[in-house]
Each structure stands twice: as C-alpha cells, then as structure tokens.
C-alpha cells in the first residue's frame, strides 16, 4: 500500500485533510480516499472498472441475500446449520470471532442451506463465501 497525498487547507477556522492510497484488496487496483473535514471522516472506495463491469455475475452474487459471506476477517468458531436445513429470518447461521469478540451472522429471510464452503476454525478473509443459501421453492 502506498501513501499518496495529504492536502490541508485553512479557511474560516476549518480544516480539511485528505489522503489517497491503494485499497486494501491489493492487485486489483482499488483506490481509497479518506477525507477529514470539520470533525467528520469520510471514506470513499473506488473499485476499478474491471471488477465493476467485467464480472457482474460475481458482483451480484456477492450482494444477493442468499449468500453468507464473511463481513470481516476472522475465525469461524461455530457453524449452526447443515446442508439442506431450512433457516428462518434472524436465525444464526455462522458465528465468527475477530478482535476477541464473537459475532453472529444471521439469516435475512427464509432459505434452504445449499452448501457450506467454510470449515470450523477456518481463518477467513473479508468477503469470503461462508454459506450458500437457496430460495425456498413454493
């Protein structure tokens, strides 16, 4: 990661500090801009065109609600479901641990567990697929 630019302007007792650097997901050319202005901090992530358009399918899959992905880097400490299970809204699917705290990842609706790519005690990256759900057939 590289450190690029800090700009500081003064005006009416106000300060703005801004910085641009390569994003956390290295090798993808992602950029991140941090701005601090009047006590407020703003972070803007610019994903490169390639991953925005080129792989639309994967992108939408990431965002769809029947996919459980790791919201943060950490360890999988409990998998509360098995393949074929019916899960309901609010039901805990996976428990993760990061920074010494336990986090429960819950279902956003009623689904059937399709597959569980993660294993117990796996150290996972942010955004890694944990559980694949599928719609309940009516």
């Amino acid at each position: 990661m590289k450190f690029y630019f800090t700009s500081k302007s003064q005006g009416r007792n106000q300060t703005l500090t801004a910085l641009k650097a390569a994003g956390q997901r290295q090798g993808e050319g992602s950029l991140v801009t941090w701005v601090h202005i009047n006590g407020k901090t703003l972070c803007v992530t610019n994903e490169p065109e390639r991953s925005k358009r080129g792989n639309k399918k994967q992108g939408s899959q990431l965002l769809s609600s029947n996919t459980i992905v790791a919201p943060m880097p950490g360890k999988v400490t409990k998998i509360m479901v098995s393949e074929g299970d019916l899960v309901t809204q609010g039901q805990t699917i996976v428990v993760m641990e990061a920074m010494k705290m336990e986090y429960s990842i819950k279902s956003s609706g009623s689904y059937i567990v399709h597959s569980i790519p993660c294993k117990l005690n796996d150290q996972v990256k942010m955004g890694e697929l944990l559980v694949q759900l599928k719609e309940v057939e009516k």
Partner: protein, 506 residues
C-alpha cells in the same frame, strides 16, 4: 519485602499499555524488553522498547497467553521484573507464581492474593465474610449446561453469565428469557475457553438500572491499603467500557466515603500489593460488589489526571520495595477527567471490527489532553487482538468543561486507514443523559441499539471536498486502474462499499 533495585523490565503485553509501561520505565531509567508476537513488529511499542523478543505467532494462545513462551522470553531477556499490563496473563495466578519462582519480580500482587481477590468466586466468599453487599447469583462448581439453565430460571431474568477467569467483557452473555439460556451459556463457555483457557462460568442477577462505579486501590510496601477515589464507567456496550471518568458525577460525599471504606475493607488482610480496582454496581443509593481486578485498569489515566499520581511508576517502585503512597499525603481529587476508548470499528455498521493499515494519524495536542496510542502511521491493525487502538484522555476544571474539551479533541483527531468509533463517541458525549451524568449501564443498549447515521455534509463542505478530489485526481497511482473520485462526495461508504450490504448484524 526485601528491597531490590529493578534495572530491566520485561513487558508481557502489547498495544497502548505496553507503550504506557515503557514511558514509565524510561522516566525511571529502567531498560525495557518487549515480549511480542510476530505480527506486532508493526506497533509503536516495538519501536520504543530497548530490547524485543518474539515469543510466538499472532494468535494470543500461541504468544501472549502462552505461559511457557512468555516465561522463556522473560528469562532469556535477563529482566529483573515483569509487568503484565492488563488482559492476557495479567490476572493469571499460575503465571504470577511461575514468574516469581523463576526469580523474576512479578509487578502485581502475589499469586495467593490474586487467587483470593481476582477469582470472582473466591472474592465473593471473602466479601461475604466482610459483609460487603453482593448481587444474587450462582457461583458453584457444577458447570453442566442443563443445571446452569435451571439455576438461571431460579435467579429470575435477566441473568448475566460471566467467565470465572474473565475480564474486559469477554465471555459475558446476557440471558433475557428461557429460550436463549442454553445458547448463551454455551457461547459464554466457548468465549471463556478461547480467551482465558477455562470454561468455568458463573451466574448473576442482572441489575438493569445500575451505574458502574469503581474504586482504585493501591497498596505499597508499607501494606497500607490506600484508595484513590472512584471512577464511573457506566457507558458500556456488550459489557465493554467505552467512556470512563473520574470522579463519578453520581456520588454524594457520604456515599463516596462509604463505598471507599467498603473497597478498602475488602482488600485489607488479603496480603495484596500493588494496584487493584474494586468494582461496584450502584442502584439508587444501594451498591453491590461486582468484582475485583487485580491489575492496572485500562481507565487508570482518569484517576492519574485528577490526583496527579502515576500509577504505573508506583507499581514499579512498589515492586522494588519502595514506599510510594499514603492516604494522608494523597490529597483530594481536583477537576474532572474523561477517557474515551478509540476502537477500530465501523460505527455506521453497528461496530463491526475494522482492520487494516493506519494510513495517517494526527492527535490535537494541547493543555489537559493526553493520547495513548498503540499504532503509528503504516502500522497494521490486525484481527488477532482487541479493537482498542488508542485512548484519549482530557482534564478540565469541571465536568462540563471536560466534556466540551473531549468533543473538540475527538473532532480534531484524525485516523485514516481504519474506521473508528469517534463519531459514536461524539454522539454519546452530546446525549442529555450523559451530559447530566445520569447514564446507567443500559445507556448504550437503550439509546444506541441501532448503528449511528453516517455524517452529512453542508453544501460548502461538499464543494470543498469536490475541489480537493479534483486536486487528488492528478496524483496517479502507478499501474493502478480507475482514478476517478466521486462527483458527489456527500455519498458515504454505504453507497461505495459493497460489503456494508452484506452485514446482517450481531
């Protein structure tokens, strides 16, 4: 105790507390050895320490919690004494004993007094003898989940489950009804095992309208049990303190002196030496013993600020047999001090941990402002440890002034690279219950159960950000792709970060 001059101290900790200990050692002209994990070479403490020994890999169980590894490191370093800081092995009596047995001074109480006061079950028995009020609960040896579930129903909801070896909010779970009892007990046992190496838990009736008040105790080589007045730490989330202050705005002089007496009484006769904290829950005018922490506390700076007393130096001097404090010389607290814990987390996503490289960090120095931080620019905040990356402490002549100062200081503190809870802290400081000092331990869950709103920007600010963005555009990143910044910078991370949408809550 025999007097022995300490020349070199091994630090069995990391982060901002390691920095705090190193600063104290530097003033006392004592050399320091940092016993660290492999990932922690990118921390401020690593750069400050005179010597460093890597004792293991990143997961705490393989380094900071590994008694064998820490002990071997301490012996190899040739240190005369070891400071455990807080968390990790600081309240592990077996560790304290083994350090002492290897001929190294353990900066803290003896293993026996630690077992007596630090173990939550033993301390309750001890307190009962001294007629200090206790919260109803179960602290027996039977650890079967079914049995504990029955006990939970007996005590009556809400009930809190705690790790017998615990501290810092880890392994603590709240049970509100029968349905979730089993799951919460199991979860507490799991967290306790992971964090403290013991599954043993106990149950306690949960007082849901109480304040958290604690008394700082210090015992030097003379054996006099001195109290350094109180701190209030009612602002907690998931039993983890967020904002602490000294002294509490809620105690009348009579109540303060009564509680201080109880705290002193509890420690008396236990053979204790060094710093301890006696924690109480205050419900109206009634107070109950919560637990005793047999170590330095995260929030020790607020006590230092109002009393002008250096607790870490006092710990070290006491360990080498010096006399450092007496109640009569201590004096009364002056002014008001507040501490805010800076956590690496995203406040707009309900406090989800945020890891990454610190790209930039700037603290607004000034009178009555103190900053204790763990990382410098280009250091990495990893997922292996506690999310606390810094503490901001202010002092002013009164509470109102201290709140005002803290708000300004937080607004002027800049951290880029990870999200922090600073916006959340500012909202707390502005809440009428906090301003009036009437907050309870339910304060956060009552008023801040939802993630806070992302910031909004005025037209003028938006214009300024847009102009800056344009300037930044000229800086190309070699090999990088898209360099365009948003034309509408008032959009926040919610629109830009795909991961925020996947978060399904805690």
């Amino acid at each position: 105790m025999k007097k022995k001059l300490i020349k070199k101290i091994a630090i069995a900790n990391r982060g901002e507390v390691a920095v705090r200990i190193i600063h104290a050692c530097q003033e006392l002209e004592i050399e320091t050895v940092l016993l660290h994990s492999d990932v922690d070479i990118n921390t401020y403490a690593y750069r400050l320490a005179d010597y460093k020994i890597c004792i293991g890999s990143a997961p705490s169980a393989e380094s900071y919690l590994n008694i064998e590894a820490v002990l071997n490191g301490a012996i190899a370093s040739g240190a005369d004494a070891l400071h455990p800081g807080f968390g990790f092995l600081s309240e592990n009596s077996e560790f304290a004993k083994r350090v002492t047995d290897s001929g190294i001074i353990f900066i803290g109480p003896s293993a026996d007094s630690m077992d007596l006061l630090g173990n939550k079950i033993n301390s309750k028995k001890w307190a009962q003898k001294k007629q200090i009020p206790l919260i109803p609960g179960y602290e027996g040896q039977n650890q079967e989940v079914e049995f504990l579930t029955k006990k939970v129903i007996e005590i009556g909801f809400p009930v809190i489950v705690k790790a017998a070896q615990g501290g810092g909010g880890r392994g603590m779970k709240l049970i509100l009804n029968e349905q979730e009892a089993k799951a919460q007990i199991e979860s507490a046992q799991r967290e306790s095992k992971a964090a403290f190496g013991s599954e043993q838990i106990f149950l306690e009736k949960y007082l849901d309208n109480a304040k958290h008040i604690e008394f700082q105790i210090f015992v030097d080589s003379t054996g006099e049990v001195v109290h350094l007045f109180d701190r209030e730490c009612s602002v907690q989330r998931r039993h983890q303190k967020i904002i602490e202050e000294a002294v509490s705005p809620s105690l009348s002089p009579e109540l303060r002196s009564k509680m201080a007496q109880s705290a002193v009484e509890l420690v008396k006769g236990s053979g204790y030496q060094g710093a301890a904290t006696v924690e109480f829950l205050l419900d109206g005018q009634e107070y109950y013993l919560l637990e005793v922490n047999t170590r330095l506390q995260v929030e020790h700076p607020v006590t230092e600020m109002v009393l002008g007393f250096d607790l870490v130096k006092a710990q070290i001097l006491t360990a080498q047999g010096d006399f450092v404090i007496s109640q009569s010389e201590l004096g009364l607290p002056k002014g008001h001090s507040i501490e805010c814990r800076i956590y690496a987390e995203n406040p707009f996503l309900g406090g989800m941990p945020s890891t990454g490289k610190i790209l930039y960090q700037q603290w607004p120095l000034g009178p009555g402002r103190r900053f204790e931080y763990a990382y410098e620019k280009d250091d990495s905040v990893t997922e292996y440890y506690d999310p606390m990356i810094a503490k901001v402490i202010v002092w002013d002549t009164n509470r109102r002034g201290a709140i005002k100062k803290m708000k300004r200081v937080l607004k002027d503190s800049i951290i880029f690279g990870v999200y922090t809870n600073i916006p959340f802290l500012i909202e707390i400081l502005e809440h009428p219950d906090f301003v009036e000092g009437i907050m309870t331990t339910q304060f956060i869950s009552k008023y801040f159960s939802d993630p806070i709103e992302p910031p909004t920007f005025s037209e003028e600010e938006t214009q300024w950000i847009t102009d800056t963005s344009k300037k930044l555009q000229n800086f190309q990143i070699s090999g990088g792709g898209g360099d365009q910044l948003s034309a509408n910078p008032s959009k926040t991370i919610f629109e830009f970060d795909p991961f925020c949408k996947m978060w399904r809550g805690v």
